[in-house]
């Protein structure tokens, strides 16, 4: 192997792939077969980039040659950049050798579209097939579903991949028309639909015949770029909800637009990446998926955007003070989960703890609950609680004041969004 040439390609094709923020390698349950290599499980972050993102997969493009010219993409045809292409065997070797050294959980392979959607998809599948069949590799494989790829190929892809994804990128159809005029909305939807239907079919069959082969066991995901087309948070979250519901998405990712172009349709070079906004969207996503909120409770026509100063749960609580205060020792779990400053972990601790005794402030503090936020919304076994009739603006002001500036400028788009 010519390592210098590989290094050049790797630099180009990893650099081009990094704007896809998905790093998940969880949700699959592939076991190591006949003393082969690898397995999948909860997904491990083997390291973190200097921008604080999880590195769990070798994330590269097969090639950054592309016949399309999507304005928001570094790989677009009209962009004057170095181009490169990996050979299939090169990707296989890199994956296996990184995996054996415990650098990664597997491969995330995407590509610019060369020749045609089908031609590109075929090559991606060839890599996955080789890994599974020739290398007996049972680690994680995430393949990009190329917009416009045929149903037959999407079917085949799911036989080797753990996860498939099509990035919708632009949350509104009008935005897509503006920035990627030669791409059609249907081209994104079609592979998504095929994958969804196959997943359902395989799950049904598995119920009857246990030995049914796996089809994309980690499901599919998509990504939306945030802040490229002047869309509102409501546009984004309603569209995310649509994908969760209608395409059984495992995850929707939100990626703050990183300026890469002088195109006047887009934010100028050097403008800030909207990282805080991205973080607020992830928090909202969590509220919808794990905390029992529905999207219209948080965003609607009157409130089309999230509050950047405070997290969305606090924002919701301040708009709905009539639900509070909640009695920690009596309230149902679903209501506990709605208290600002209390995450799901704390909800469980409260429920276990209150079986033994009525909980007071001291107990709550020891459980690690963020009382500086929660205290305005709860009562517990103590006569000492915030009984002043404060209005929403005052509470918000007091919470902001008490918040340590040490957290400012440090946002994490992975886990632990609420504590």
């Amino acid at each position: 192997m010519d390592f210098n040439r590989i290094k050049e390609k790797l630099n180009i094709l990893a650099d081009a792939a990094k704007y896809d923020v998905s790093c998940s390698s969880s949700g699959s349950n592939r076991k190591n077969k006949v003393n082969g290599l690898g397995d999948t499980g909860n997904g491990i972050c083997h390291t973190y980039t200097e921008d604080g993102r999880c590195v769990s997969l070798l994330k590269i493009l097969l090639t950054n040659h592309c016949i399309f010219d999507c304005a928001y993409c570094v790989t677009r045809k009209s962009n004057d950049i170095q181009r490169a292409a990996f050979k299939i065997q090169e990707v296989v070797d890199l994956t296996i050798n990184f995996y054996r050294r415990n650098y990664i959980e597997g491969l995330f392979l995407s590509s610019g579209i060369f020749k045609s959607a089908d031609h590109t998809m075929e090559r991606l599948i060839a890599v996955a097939k080789k890994l599974r069949e020739e290398e007996n590799f049972n680690g994680y494989i995430h393949l990009k579903s190329i917009p416009g790829a045929s149903d037959e190929l999407m079917y085949e892809a799911g036989l080797y991949a753990d996860r498939l994804s099509v990035n919708i990128e632009i949350p509104t159809i009008s935005g897509l028309k503006l920035l990627a005029p030669d791409k059609k909305h249907e081209d994104f939807i079609k592979p998504m639909l095929k994958v969804k239907n196959e997943i359902i079919r395989y799950t049904e069959e598995r119920k009857i015949i246990k030995s049914t082969a796996k089809y994309a066991p980690a499901g599919q995901s998509t990504q939306m770029i945030v802040g490229a087309t002047g869309e509102s948070d409501k546009d984004i979250m309603y569209s995310a909800t649509h994908f969760y519901k209608n395409y059984n998405m495992k995850r929707v990712y939100y990626s703050g637009y990183v300026p890469i172009s002088t195109d006047s349709r887009l934010p100028a070079l050097g403008s800030q990446v909207p990282m805080l906004r991205e973080n607020r969207l992830y928090q909202t996503d969590w509220l919808l998926r794990f905390y029992g909120f529905s999207v219209n409770e948080i965003l609607d026509t009157d409130n089309p955007n999230l509050d950047m100063d405070i997290d969305p749960k606090l924002m919701w609580a301040l708009r709905n003070l009539n639900y509070f205060p909640v009695d920690i020792n009596k309230a149902e779990p679903r209501m506990l989960a709605r208290i600002p400053g209390i995450g799901m972990g704390s909800v469980h601790k409260i429920i276990s703890g209150r079986k033994y005794r009525n909980l007071n402030w001291e107990h709550l503090k020891k459980m690690g609950i963020a009382l500086n936020r929660a205290k305005y919304f709860i009562i517990c076994n103590s006569s000492d609680w915030e009984r002043r009739d404060l209005d929403a603006a005052t509470i918000k002001g007091m919470i902001l004041q008490s918040q340590n500036s040490k957290f400012k400028g440090q946002y994490n788009n992975q886990l632990s969004l609420f504590n």
Binding site: F3, I6, A14, D51, R101, N102, N136, S352, G353, Y356
Partner: protein, 257 residues
């Protein structure tokens, strides 16, 4: 009746459980259980040497497990923390567990329970970190070799993970701090101790023990790590929080090039 006494065990987990058994048998309300060689008690305390007895250890293990599965895990993890005084904490935890009508392991309003949970949690985190941060280097005799230096004694906890994942390659993970390691020979995992002349960190100096190709792949990985960073989003605080500096010396991607 003896309310307090120092029990000295051999440092093994079974030894410790035997000591717990003896403590319960003698109805000690406070058992000061200490590792041999680290005895710190006062001159006048009464001491008893405990001989590890698998059967007695097993009885404690089963007793706890019947009460609560999460408790048994907490106890083992907390034990591996090697923290000062964790023996006494665990002893009290087991007392509470056995005397409670629920399983006392979930009483998060109790200080001792919280403390054990926190210890177990820290050890659990270290286990995950090691599963993530082990960096194998391929030796000339085709063994994938890694040195680690974990905060807690997590080798017993990570063995299964590596055994399952790397079933078709020989590997060694060696704890430099505790001077023992695991060796998988394509069949079973064995505990080994080595006479290491060098500790293999990510230093720039190449060792003759490893293949040439090994350094090519480290180089590629190092490059990949750099190209996958988005410069306009650099956040070193977050980076260091996820990858604390004390682990850097074994990470090939943190090699200073």
């Amino acid at each position: 009746m003896n309310a307090s006494k120092t029990l000295v065990y051999d440092g093994s987990f079974n030894g410790f459980l035997t000591a717990v058994f003896i403590g319960f048998e003698q109805k000690l309300t406070h058992a000061d259980i200490q590792k041999q060689g680290q005895l710190q008690s006062g001159l006048f305390a009464e001491t008893e040497t405990i001989f590890t007895n698998i059967e007695k250890a097993q009885r404690v293990w089963n007793g706890v497990r019947n009460k609560s599965n999460s408790a048994i895990k907490n106890i083992y993890f907390a034990f591996l923390s090697e923290q000062n005084n964790m023996e006494a904490l665990i002893y009290r935890y087991i007392q509470k567990l056995m005397g409670s009508k629920y399983n006392g392991a979930t009483d998060f309003s109790d200080d001792g329970v919280l403390k054990i949970n926190q210890l177990a949690h820290k050890v659990g985190r270290e286990k995950h970190r090691m599963e993530a941060f082990v960096r194998f280097q391929l030796t000339k005799d085709e063994v994938y070799f890694a040195n680690i230096e974990p905060d807690f004694d997590v080798l017993p906890l990570i063995s299964k993970h590596f055994r399952n994942r790397y079933a078709d390659q020989q590997w060694i993970i060696y704890d430099v701090k505790r001077k023992y390691g695991l060796f998988y020979d394509l069949n079973t995992v064995e505990i080994i101790s080595l006479d290491l002349s060098d500790i293999h960190t990510n230093s720039m100096q190449k060792s003759t023990a490893f293949t040439d190709v090994e350094y090519e792949y480290q180089d590629l990985w190092n490059n990949y790590f750099k190209s996958t960073t988005i410069k306009s989003r650099i956040n070193n605080k977050l980076h260091v929080q996820h990858v604390p500096k004390r682990y850097w010396k074994y990470l090939s991607e943190k090699k200073a090039v």
